[in-house]
Subunit: 199 residues, 2 copies
Amino acid sequence: MDKQAQLEAFRKGIAQFVTFNDAEWEIFTPYLSFSNLSKKEHFAVEGKVCDYMCFITRGAVRYYHIKDGQEITGYFSFENELMSAYKSFLKRTPNTNYIQALEETELVMISHQNLQQMLNHPLLALKIERFGRLIAEYYICCYEDRVTAFITQSPEERYVILEKTAKDIFQRIPQHFIANFLGITPVSLSRIRKRTLLQ
Amino acid sequence: MDKQAQLEAFRKGIAQFVTFNDAEWEIFTPYLSFSNLSKKEHFAVEGKVCDYMCFITRGAVRYYHIKDGQEITGYFSFENELMSAYKSFLKRTPNTNYIQALEETELVMISHQNLQQMLNHPLLALKIERFGRLIAEYYICCYEDRVTAFITQSPEERYVILEKTAKDIFQRIPQHFIANFLGITPVSLSRIRKRTLLQ
DNA sequence: TGAAATCCTTATCTTTTGTTAACGTTTTCA
DNA sequence: TGAAAACGTTAACAAAAGATAAGGATTTCA
């Protein structure tokens, strides 16, 4: 995808949070940069501060932790979604997990430095503050649902709901990553799938 | 606690997010209101839109869902912390859980309506946008840690860590609520406690 | 293209958790 | 103050999940 098309996709993708008129867009876009990730390439690694907030125009990534030498996948992001090691990016602290491309991935990026400059730019500040607030609020709602699922649902219930609401993820993501995401082992997910098929 | 003392506590409590000079404070405080909750009184109930964002100056509350007729406690907030049915408050959608006072509780409150007015007030807008953004970012970091705990830790590990990092909660909150919070049943928590004591 | 890596399933065994119920203690509140 | 409610522990059994290993299919990539 060429940069112009990526910018268009980005503009459309963030319209749920904030819309720029053409004059604002002219000021805004020079603060953006672009990058590609090849399959298995890391966007973020443990111990490093994450300097970019991204919008994925194509591809998919997984977020994972390493515990006792084992990778545990906690989340995914796909095209037309935002991606960042959010906590590290915001707090400027070393990241505690990894983000890795599952496919060829294209990104539109905002560096932390540029973000700060925009927050000091008289014509952008208010809109960028709002953008940041709405993004954060959006993610809070996602997280709230996720925690609620862990509190109130069994692994099997979480699987059944995921299978209903995001069937396509099973075509795109290896099943053992999805198992981690659901909070169980791959073996256990395989059993649950067999069990729920028979019913 | 009298209102002046509550306001002082509030100002101090939000200083981690935003600080007001005295002139700004004068403009800001008329948008606030006050309320008390007696023990077991509900601040929020399922099905109603939550109209207030609160700061707790005294007391404690629990957040719980009802599933199959059973109450499942998912979170707590204490004095000097913020409290709201955040998702409902932000999205103006019916709330999906309950918030109930565990003790006599005192609140400083911002109504959604007043918040919107402040966001349109030329002298407050930027600071309030920032306040909202920083609060949301703060909660995202909390949620991120919580989800990571569910993904990467066993119930026993979650208990041991909670016992280390927030021992006082066990003196203040009934144990079966804490069990829900950890994602397990009260019986299971009782077993874990016995098990880890013996080791 | 062919060896290596990845992936899913299945089996076996162990460990943990859920469920239900009972019991004694403490707290609540009319 | 006294009956009722709330609370934590324990027991017994069932259900589910974790750990480990093996086997076969598919994919990857040099």
